[in-house]
C-alpha cells in the first residue's frame, strides 16, 4: 500500500503558510495538524474551566476532556488509565521517577543507564544515585569494530558483552532509551529487560523518540515505567506522559506538592495518578494531545513507517555520495546524523537554513554519546510523515551547496 504523504501534509497548516519549508528537525519537535490546533482552541472556546471539583457545566466538561485524554492515552499504549500521569514533558517524567527512586535507593545499590541516553534520562539518574549514595553505571556503545567508529555493526548500538556485570544484584533501576535521539539506535530491550528483571531492578524506558515511530505496548515491554512527550508526536508542547505500573506509582513520592493532590493533611495524598498532578494542568494542551493520538490512530502506521524508511534510505544514499560526509548510526531509524570533513555542523545547518531546509546541529543533549564517538557536534536530519522525496532532494542539494562553499 502506498502512503499518501500529500494528503497528510495538507493537514498541517504551517506548510500552507510556509510552502517552501523543508522540515527535517522532527526528532526535536514535529509540526501540528489542524485537528490538534482546533482541539486546543476549542477547549478555550467551549470548555475553559479548571479541572477537578467544579460543579458547573463547563467545569464538568473540562474534567471530562481531561480524563478522556487519559483513557485515550492508556488505550493507545495498552495501559490502565490510572497508570497514566500527565507531566509537562519527557524530562519531567524522568525527573519524577528519579526523584521518587532517590528516596528508595540505598547505599550499595546501583542505577544503570546507557551512553545512548539524552541528558533527560541520564542526569536525573546520576543525581538520584548521588543523593542516595548509590553507584551510577553506564552501559557503553560498541566501539570495537565497524565503520565510522560507531560500533561493531556501524549502528552505534550498545555493547552488551558484559551486561551481566553491569546489571548485577546491586542494580535497582535500569533506565534506557528505546531509540537514540542522535543515531536512532534501538537497544536490544528484550535482552536488557530480561536481565533487569532477573535481578529485580525496575525498568524505565525513555520513549521520547520511539513513541511516534514504534507501537508502544507497555504490557509486552514489561517495563515498570515509560515516559514520552506529546510534542514529538504531532501534539502540543507542554504535554508529557508518564506511564507507571500501579505498584511502582504507589511506592514513590510525588515530585510536586500543592493543590489537587491532597487527601488529608499533613501528608496523605490522593490515589494514583492524581497524587502526581499538583497544580493546574495543561488541559488545553492535553485536549490537543488527544487529537494527536486520534490523528496517529487514523493513519496506517505500518505504511507510514515504510514511507519514512524509504526517505531515510534515499537520504542516506544521497548523503554518502557527497565528499567528506560520514553517516552515524542506524539505517533502520528515521534519524540520520552526519558529519562533514572541513565543515562544522553548525555551518552545515546555517547553509541549509538559507535554503529553507531545517535540520539541527550540536551535541543534541547527548554528551555522553558524543564524547564516546569523539565528536563535539554533528548534524541531524530526522523525518516525519509529511516529508517527501522532494524534501530529500532539497536536503541533498543544500548539503552539496555547503560542500561547494567549504571546498
Amino acid at each position: 500500500m502506498t502512503f499518501d504523504w500529500q494528503k497528510i501534509k495538507a493537514e498541517f497548516p504551517i506548510f500552507n503558510s510556509q510552502p517552501e519549508l523543508v522540515f527535517l528537525d522532527n526528532a526535536s519537535t514535529t509540526q501540528k495538524p489542524l485537528t490538534v490546533l482546533d482541539a486546543e482552541r476549542n477547549f478555550y472556546l467551549e470548555a475553559n474551566a479548571n479541572v477537578h471539583r467544579g460543579v458547573y457545566e463547563i467545569a464538568e466538561k473540562a474534567d471530562q476532556i481531561y480524563e478522556s485524554v487519559r483513557s485515550k492515552v492508556a488505550a493507545w499504549i495498552g495501559a490502565e488509565a490510572e497508570e497514566i500521569v500527565f507531566v509537562k514533558n519527557a524530562t519531567e517524567g524522568a525527573n519524577l521517577l528519579a526523584a521518587g527512586m532517590s528516596e528508595i535507593l540505598k547505599k550499595g545499590n546501583s542505577v544503570v543507564v546507557t551512553e545512548l541516553e539524552h541528558h533527560a534520562n541520564y542526569i536525573p539518574w546520576q543525581q538520584a544515585a548521588k543523593k542516595a549514595g548509590a553507584e551510577f553505571r553506564v552501559i557503553g556503545i560498541d566501539k570495537e569494530s565497524g565503520d565510522n567508529g560507531v560500533g561493531g555493526d556501524g549502528s552505534g548500538n550498545l555493547d552488551l558483552n558484559n551486561l551481566e556485570e553491569k546489571i548485577d544484584a546491586k542494580c535497582k533501576v535500569v533506565a534506557i532509551t528505546m531509540m537514540s535521539n542522535v543515531t536512532g539506535a534501538q537497544p536490544d530491550l528484550t535482552r536488557i529487560i530480561a536481565r533487569a528483571k532477573a535481578v529485580g531492578a525496575i525498568v524505565v524506558l525513555d520513549a521520547a523518540q520511539a513513541a511516534v515511530h514504534l507501537k508502544l505496548e507497555v504490557k509486552k515491554l514489561e517495563a515498570d515505567a515509560i515516559f514520552f512527550t506529546g510534542h514529538k508526536l504531532y501534539g502540543p508542547m507542554g504535554t508529557g506522559i508518564l506511564y507507571m505500573k500501579k505498584n511502582l506509582a504507589e511506592k514513590i513520592s510525588p515530585l510536586l506538592f500543592g493543590g489537587g493532590m491532597v487527601k488529608e493533611l499533613p501528608d496523605q495524598w490522593l490515589n494514583i495518578p492524581h497524587k502526581f498532578e499538583a497544580g493546574t494542568p495543561n488541559v488545553a494542551g492535553l485536549a490537543g494531545l488527544g487529537a494527536a493520538i486520534d490523528f496517529l490512530s487514523g493513519i496506517d502506521r505500518v505504511a507510514a513507517l515504510e514511507h519514512e524508511k524509504n526517505l531515510v534510505k534515499l537520504a542516506r544514499k544521497g548523503l554518502t555520495e557527497i565528499v567528506g560526509v560520514k553517516l552515524l548510526g542506524d539505517e533502520a531509524s528515521s534519524i540520520i546524523s552526519f558529519t562533514m570533513e572541513g565543515i562544522h555542523p553548525h555551518d552545515i545547518a546555517s547553509i541549509l537554513a538559507g535554503e529553507k531546509v531545517c535540520i539541527r546541529a550540536g551535541h543534541h543533549c547527548a554528551k555522553p554519546l558524543m564524547n564516546s564517538l569523539g565528536l563535539t557536534a554533528c548534524a541531524r536530519v530526522s523525518f516525519a510523515l509529511y516529508n517527501s522525496e522532494q524534501d530529500v532532494e532539497k536536503l541533498i542539494a543544500a548539503v552539496k551547496k555547503a560542500r561547494s562553499i567549504f571546498k
Binding site: P345, S350, G354, H363, T376
Partner: protein
Amino acid sequence: MDIYAEIILDHFKNPRQAGLIEHADAIAEDLNPLCGDKVKVSLRIKDGKIAGFGFEGDGCAISVASTSIIGEQLAGLEMEKFLEMSNEEVLEKLGVPISPGRIKCALLGFSCIKKAITVYKHSHA
C-alpha cells in the same frame, strides 16, 4: 551579503594569529555550550596596550573567523578601549549578517578576549 562571504571563509581556513603566544600576560578559554565551540586566547599586554595576540579555536566557521578578524585589529589597542567595545560594534566589524541563532558563535572570541583582559586587570590592579 551572505553569512559565508569570502571574508569569513578566508579567516576560517587561514586564521590569523593562530596558535597561542609564548610568555602571555593574559589567557582565557571559553566555550559555547550550545554547540561545543571552543576558543583559547593569549595576549601580551604592555603599558596598558595589547602588544601581542594568538588563539586556538575549535568550532564553526563563524566562531573561528570572528576571533581571527577581531584578533587582527588588536595590535596597539588600549585594553580599556577594547573593554568598551560593544557586541554590536564587533558584529559590525565582521561585515556579514549574523542571524540570532549564530550571535553566540560570532561573539565567542570577543567575550573570551574580554575575559582574559578583565582577569589581567584585576590581577594587576
